[in-house]
Symmetry: D2
Subunit: 342 residues, 4 copies
């Protein structure tokens, strides 16, 4: 069970609610938050009178209970769905959005050319890695702050907000200076200190699914960010690890309708990392839209074969333009939304 | 490498080719086939002159070599793709097809009502299990031949060909008497004696992917049927086993564009068994079509909650009709086919 | 729930029990069995008085209920454990047993040499495949009946019972003529017609775990054999499919203590197929014994590098002898059995 | 390829080597290290003369090349194996070691009692979590520094070094103040900033395998620590994610002989998290030793059922003592080491 205090409630009020709960034998956690305080209550069957009693205490906004371990991320917490606004891009709204760009920022000219090309092909947000999580210590680890600067410049030049990955708590403020959206990569989905830190900055977070995370674990990671005071979370399915060596990862599109049922957060799909093969990107991107995704994040550059990193999964602007056109047509075919009567 | 003899070539000619190969040190297998003989050659590097030499021998139709272990199932063996015709239904052609019906044949009235309902909702072929592979020996194992009779009757009454599962070599002739298409279930994908037997009857085969089979193993199972003389094979993705308990299986749509690249055989998708949850069927069915599937096989019955078996994954005819309409619209959005330029 | 009739109870008595159950609204299955009849009861909450009532009916031996879907295979059905006797080899008794031999029977001389070598190294039973389940139709499929004959001859010459795989129902009688134990391979664990057929012959069955089967599914496959009248089932863990390409399969030793808790059937371990790498066989064999396995089945031949099939996982007789000696020492270190007090 | 500079080589020498490499067209990375500089060389076929040329340059200690992506962690880099010394405990030496204690530090009394109990049962190092990675933000997150203080106190009182988890780069110095060994948890195996930071402190690191990490990825994570200047790394297998719901994780003992072949680093096994079930801990612990592990890390407390966290997998001191005695006996049975001749 969780108790949310009203915006502006003083800490005294929260402490008093916590005290009441403890006196009745509950374990209580005050959750650090940049917004109104949130109190998590654990470890026992909840008596029926507890909810009403708590709601009558000073400063309490509401009390949520759920059969599931996540609460703020659950669909019931906002049945109408969340739209995350980034500049004039709306993720979770009626139109699917396309985020595109290179895997990694390599140079000023590369970024500008890529930004213009993906913009012309239909992208509305620009991606590019400056801090790269690389399996080998001997691989190129990204340009760091210089990469962020080049990414932001290319975004500004083409009128697109930008998204870039943040890998450790101490980088959060730096990345937030340049990026409009902070990306948490698959390997960091369960990096809880990092989740707590991004919860405290005023930036939307693109939270990729861990490649061996269950849907429930993923939503609990989102819950860390929501409970910490940042409710602008975008979920991104990017492939799970499976037994077939044909593809680097197995893009799990079942996650799309599952997340739409279980959570109010928008969900997008990454067919580039999700397959690791450029020849599968278009089909899986369109399948993602048909499954109900709110958008796509795709690696696309003018000259995929020249990329230093992950070239094998990058597509050309022409392919991106084809995807964008077909994605719109498929999305129209889904409207009005299918009422599942059985 | 494999050598295909001409239709009508006598066995003497095939023996003579085999003799030539053995004399040069190759291991040779004459593959039992109801059509023209096929000779499999194994175990050594192939010298460059061998192909031309073989082609000049009497009765040889062609010689195929491939970097992959399957040859007859490979895209190169029939670049234009295979269309499997069943009655007036064409699987693998320009229109996606819908196969629907109950999980299991339970009674005459149930089958007739279900057949009429799915026909009206857009299905063109009828499914229904008479021999059921059940994990527990104490579960209902199907009506057997009586079930086949009821299925065939319902198909005839509604003008639809029918598909039903065959579980063991000795059942093949019996099921082939009643069913227009023989289904090999997921648990039998690597039941090689069964594959060899269905290769010898004049019926198309719907070959489901084993739930832990790689794409290559699946195509090798198809190869057993093709090499045995039956080239009317329809592949069906039906979900793989993964780590997430949210769904019974993880429908692997990556298989759809992969199969379309690697093989000429048509590929359809089963979102019912692939997820095990009726609330995911519509989204995953449409995603399958967007990924490039040639059709869908879906469990649908008038009263899903009354089904003896697998009711939780059966949808209503209304939902089926919605899927059919949207599938057509999505399919149009994919035409002309996306040229992947990178 | 299941009802077992007394040995010698006439079918009239069983029918009368079934009638009683049906009259109270239960679904009833008479399970074909070569021993005493067994009645499976499904589909409803069991009232408390039912057990005692049934036990008082003529011919009823006992009534088993279980929270688990398998019953005859459950530990509770025979708390002291099952010992399967094959010739003078006892599997499931106090001493771990070693079964060894080549993957595939290739020739008379190969079999005799291999049998003598593994016998000298400590094996007490001989393995060798005559019918081989091969992923590719172009691979060597085994010598068939000739292979069985050679295997039986080598077993007789060295005083060891022999085990060989059976792949389809119609082969069961043939294999049973030559082999002392019938092996069901991993790909056939859920081949239910085959399970039903081996249930009806007077031969112990070595049931390998499907490489993507849960423990529960495995025990349900054993249940098919037990319910069919054959209670001499030996379980064999042989590796599951996982995501790491280092090994062909991931030998799952957790299965060993789990099976010992859940079932009374003996459990052995196959480190050869379970890893696919000869350099891991010795360590994993010993780990299997330490985990509590009743024995090992290992591919070993005098000249592993000359084998036509699966040579990369075959070990030499010297390595086998080392394993045998250490296995005995490890087994002693486990006695008396560890009482898990918490 | 990597180039290691001599201890004490000045940075000028390293720069000059790097310059030489760049002038020949290689991409070069100077790897931050607290010891002697290390230079990683990427991206091209290595000409035969390069190694000898580099070795002749001033300050170069040696040049390592490898068919594998990790080099410092590879067995070839130290064929005799690494022994990590912690106080008077030697991990990787001839005797297997046992590390035990509670999952989480809860109170002073709990820690002292647990430390005494596990010490008496045969443990030589004490474990206990102060910073806990918890899937849910509402779960108890550990006592933090107070927990570290209590752990260190209990270790000192019983004469055992202590190991505790570190979750983020900024905690490294704090945890290193109290703990003798820093643990990197499964969810942080690919937290590269954290790996880089622990590489720079003078403390051994216990690196758990990510639950969906391949053996190669795991060794590359170790490589981050070694390349950063800390060569006291202990690997710990703790279970992978699989499809069977019987256990929380599937302890992968195949990793033990694989790591012993591929790397010189010591490897221990965690049967507590690796199974999540106390009734499997003893069997899997002993199997780990038989597979060749250098030690065990086990959750054990006087009153497992009272634990706030992970009680279901904690064993009693009595069970621990049984494991310790049997582990010694099994280890003796393995000596001298098995020479795998085939």
């Amino acid at each position: 069970m969780i108790v949310r205090m009203q915006q502006g409630a003083d800490t005294e009020a929260a402490r008093s609610v916590a005290e009441h709960l403890r006196s009745r034998g509950f374990e209580v956690h005050l959750i650090a938050s940049s917004g109104a305080p949130v109190i998590g209550v654990n470890g026992r069957q909840i008596p029926e009178d507890l909810g009403p009693t708590l709601c009558s205490l000073p400063g309490v906004a509401d009390v949520l209970d759920s059969p599931r371990p996540y609460r703020l991320a659950a669909r019931e917490a906002r049945p109408s769905g969340t739209v995350v606004q980034v500049g004039n891009v709306r993720i979770g709204g009626p139109e699917p959005v396309i985020i595109a760009g290179p895997c990694t920022v390599e140079s000023r000219e590369q970024m500008l050319r890529a930004a213009e090309a993906v913009r012309a092909a239909g992208a509305v947000m620009l991606r590019g890695g400056a801090f790269k999580p690389r399996t080998s210590p001997y691989s190129f680890q990204g340009l760091g702050e210089e990469g962020l600067r080049l990414l932001a410049e290319a975004g500004a030049a083409t009128g697109m907000p930008v998204v870039s990955e943040v890998m450790e708590p101490d980088q959060v403020e730096l990345v937030a200076e340049y990026a409009d959206v902070l990306q948490i990569g698959s390997r960091n989905m369960a990096n809880f200190p990092l989740l707590k830190r991004v919860a405290r900055v005023n930036r939307p977070v693109l939270l990729k699914r861990g490649f061996a995370a269950t849907i429930e674990e993923w939503l609990l990671s989102a819950e860390y960010i929501l409970a910490g005071g940042n409710d602008r979370v975008i979920l991104c399915e990017r492939g799970i690890r499976s037994f077939d060596p044909s593809t680097r990862f197995t893009l799990d599109l079942n996650a799309v309708p599952l997340i739409r049922q279980l959570s109010h957060l928008p969900i997008i799909v990454d067919p580039s990392h999700g397959t690791g093969r450029r020849d599968l990107v278009a089909s899986m991107a369109l399948a993602g839209i048909a499954a109900g995704a709110h958008g796509l994040i795709i690696e696309a550059v003018p000259d995929p074969d020249d990329a230093l990193c992950d070239g094998p999964q990058s597509i050309t602007p022409d392919t991106l333009a084809s995807i964008a056109a077909r994605a719109r047509a498929i999305h129209s075919a889904l409207t009005p939304e299918l009422a599942v009567t059985a």
